[in-house]
Each structure stands twice: as structure tokens, then as C-alpha cells.
């Protein structure tokens, strides 16, 4: 299978590889996929008090297209509000990376990872606000 130049670029020079402290209240963590399926993505976001994603990190177990999809996702969410980041669709990733049909699930997983990270962050802040209210 031939890879697009953009997939190769992200695979060879992945952006924002790393981990953040998942217990930090400004950090949301998404862990999606399963080792048995051959894809696991961990995507983390750090959110400012104003609700802007200031930083993003990822680690991915998966094929080159899965690595590229998650690398691209971290680039795209940075600087966005949570609602803007929620609007990122897998089809945008497919288009940007020229993923073939057999690799579409990689982009779906990247979208899921963004949503899971945001959900985790929102759950943390709701809990915190709930606690301070009580």
C-alpha cells in the first residue's frame, strides 16, 4: 500500500508526542481503541481557564495512518475552544491525509480520541465545580 506524503511526514516527524499529568485538573485524557484491534490512541489536552486548548499530546499504538491521524489531531485542536475542537470530523482528517478507505477507521479513532479527551476534561471541571458549590 502506498502512503500519502502527509502520512509519511507525520509518521516520520510526529507532532506533539508525549504525555501530560492525567491527574492535573486542566488536563483531559482520551484513551480509545484496543490492542486486540491493532489501534490504541491516547490524546491529551491542556485547557486554559478561558476554555482554550493550549497544548495537546498524543501517543499511538497503530499503523502509520493511525499515528498520522492522531498527530494531525493534536495539531488541529491546539488554540481551539472545546466546542470548536468538538466540531473536528474524521472526514476532515481523511481529506487532509488522503487516507484510503481501508484506513478510515484510523481517522474515526482520532475523532473519538479528541471527543474522549474533551469529555474527560469536562467531567473533571463539573466535578470540581460541583464540589465547590457544595
Amino acid at each position: 500500500m502506498a502512503y500519502s506524503d502527509k502520512v509519511i511526514d507525520h509518521y516520520e516527524n510526529p507532532r506533539n508526542v508525549g504525555s501530560m499529568d492525567k491527574n492535573d485538573e486542566s488536563v483531559g485524557t482520551g484513551l480509545v481503541g484496543a490492542p486486540a484491534c491493532g489501534d490504541v490512541m491516547k490524546l491529551q489536552i491542556q485547557v486554559s481557564a478561558e476554555g482554550i486548548i493550549q497544548d495537546a499530546k498524543f501517543k499511538t499504538f497503530g499503523c502509520g495512518s493511525a499515528i498520522a491521524s492522531s498527530s494531525l489531531a493534536t495539531e488541529w485542536v491546539k488554540g481551539k475552544t472545546l466546542d470548536e475542537a468538538m466540531a473536528i470530523k474524521n472526514t476532515h482528517i481523511v481529506e487532509e491525509l488522503n487516507l484510503p478507505p481501508v484506513k478510515i477507521h484510523c481517522s474515526v479513532l482520532a475523532e473519538d480520541a479528541i471527543k474522549a479527551a474533551i469529555a474527560d476534561y469536562r467531567q473533571k471541571t463539573t466535578k470540581k465545580n460541583g464540589a465547590s458549590a457544595g
Binding site: 504525555s19 480509545v32 484496543a34 501517543k59 499504538f61 497503530g62 499503523c63 493511525a66 473519538d112
Partner: protein, 406 residues
Amino acid sequence: MKLPIFMDNHSTTRVDPRVVEAMLPYFTEHFGNAASRNHAFGWHAEAAVERAREQVAALIGGSGKEIVFTSGATESDNLAIKGAASFHAKRGKHIVTVETEHKAVLDTCKRLEREGWKVTYLKPAPDGLVTPEQVAEAVGPETTVVSVMLANNEIGVIQPIEAIGAAIKAKNKNTLFHCDAVQGVGKIPFDVEKAKVDLVSMSAHKMYGPKGVGALWVRRKPRVRIDPLIDGGGHERGMRSGTLAVPLIVGFGAAAEIARTEMAEEATRLRRLRDRLHQGISRRLEHVYVNGTMESRLPGNLNISFAFVEGESLLMALKDVAVSSGSACTSASLEPSYVLRALGIGEELAHTSIRFGIGRFNTEEEIDYVIDLVGQSVERLRELSPLWEMYQEGIDLSKIEWTNAH
């Protein structure tokens, strides 16, 4: 050293220059049809084919008269199993085979199942082997054909064919024993008498011969009957009609002869290279697992799982090295290797497997280059792997509730 390096010799092999040399005249001056009985062009072609028949048969201890040339191993497997099943259907409609056989055998059996045959698929032990007792137990009075491969194309394990042959015949002397010997012949000693086989599939391009030609060895004493799949001019004693591909057959013969005379020496060399690769990788990396037994294995085969690193991403890193992976991502099916699954290897490890197939033209320098590249690449990809990170943190990956099931 020239890049890229070809280390995928189970998929195919480079044609040996001596084989090419032998073939060339049969494209040009000796272009006759081997079935032309009335002129010198035909006689010359026929003589060349007969010589190749002897060369191929000699490799497995058979007679040239028992060789049926085909288009390749897939056709040979189809012809052996469907041909024997069809001819002997009155004996019973039961077939025994193994879960780790090549698709050319498994899909042939599946078709026969749809046509009313009963097929028993034996499960190998975690080392990849079936036992003679296991095979014999599955054979009954209704069993027409048993098909067990000599050496596996993914993990290279060598089945105890001689003991299996004896066990089958002791249980039911009428049961025909077919052996897909494609990966094994020319690499390891194999003798049709010792193995008590009735039908043997072979392919030229796995032994440094040309693509597009294979053979089915069909026992003559006692005579084994099969129905043809292709009807026509009655070539190959009626078992396979169609004009013989003379240049390819000549190449097959030359390749078989080279394999026979150089086998022992080549096996020693390949085993040394394979062990060097295995040791080099194991010394450099932790959590690497060999799939299939190392005790009974093709000299040039190494199949390794690199835990926490997905196979296709590793193939991408090894872009200067042609190898293959059992990862789902390299196939259209999204399922990891059925061979590794049959051994009871977890899907998560099956996704991380790489098959190295070392062959005649690989060098020690290439092996050292591959060790280094694999080491670097696995280390880099593990830094990228959330599973590796979790493992380092002491998290039990089997206890995690993962989100999607495929």
C-alpha cells in the same frame, strides 16, 4: 550493500541467474510445443520437459513419470484435493486438514464443505505443530483425503510429516495423503517414500525458479487416481490439459537441481544468518517473542512479535527492508494472521508480528543492517506507544476496559 534489502523469501524468491541462463534458449531457438510429435522443434521441447520432470522428481525422491506440471502451487493444491475428493467420493466424504494450512488448501476445503463434504480442521499446539496421533484420531473409514503442509509459510514450522504419513496409513490405508510442500522442498530433505504421501504440491518461484509454474507429484505405485480440473488436449496424462510452459518448466527443473545439490550447505548458511538475526534482535530489545517452535523450523525463517509496537507501523519504519507482517493492517480483512491466532497467540501480539524470510542472496552485512534498523525502529515506536508507557507504569493491560471491539 544495496538497498532495499529483500528479506521476504517466503513470498517469492529472486530467480537464480543459473536458472535464467537455462531458460533463455527455450524462449528463442527452442520454442517448440512439447506436444508436437512430428518435428524437431517439438522433440527438443519434449526432451527438455522430460529432463525437468526428472530434476523436480529427484528433489523429493520420486519418479519423473509422477510429475504433473501446473501453473503453480495454488493450482496443485486445488487439483490434489478437489481431484482426489471427486474421484474417490464413493469412499467417503470426509477430509482432514489443519487450521494453519495455506489458503489454497483451506479455501479449497471450504468449497468442498459447501458441496456437502465434511472437513475436520485440526488445531496445532502453541508451538505450531500437530501430532501424528492427533491426525490419526481424526481419520475414519470415510476419510478420503488428509492434507497437511510440510512447512508453514508464516512461521516456518516443519510438521512431522513422516510420522503423520505412517499414522494415517495405519488408520486407513485407503486415505490419500496430500502434502503442500511448497515452502519446504528444496530447503529441507523430503522424501515421498519416507513420508508415505500420495500427492505433493510444489512451486518453482519459492526455490529461486520462475513464477507461473508448479507441480503436483502423483504417486504411481500404488497408482493414485484423481479427476482433472482442466479438460482439453489430455496433457500430463489427462490430469492437467494445456500446452506446457516449456521455458518455465525448464527453469523449474534447473532450480530443483540446484536446490538438491546445494541444500545441505545452503541450509547451514541460512540457519547461521537466521540465528544471528534472532540473537542480535533479542540482545538489543526486550519483550520480543518468537512465534512457533525453533526446534523444527525452516532454516531461513524467523517470525517475531515485538510487543507494544504495531506491525504495519514497524514495516513502515523498515522501508528499506522487504519483510511482511501478521498485522491486520497489511491485509484487507482487518483480522490479524489466522496462523498466529490458531496457535493461541493473542490478537494484541499477533498485530505486532514480523516475518523475516532469509534466502540464498542475503548476506551477513544485510543481517547486521536489519538488526540495527529493527532495534532503532522498535525503540522509537515504543516511545510513541501508549501501551509501552502503561506497561512501564506497571499497568496490567489485560485489566483495562478498551473502548471499541474493532
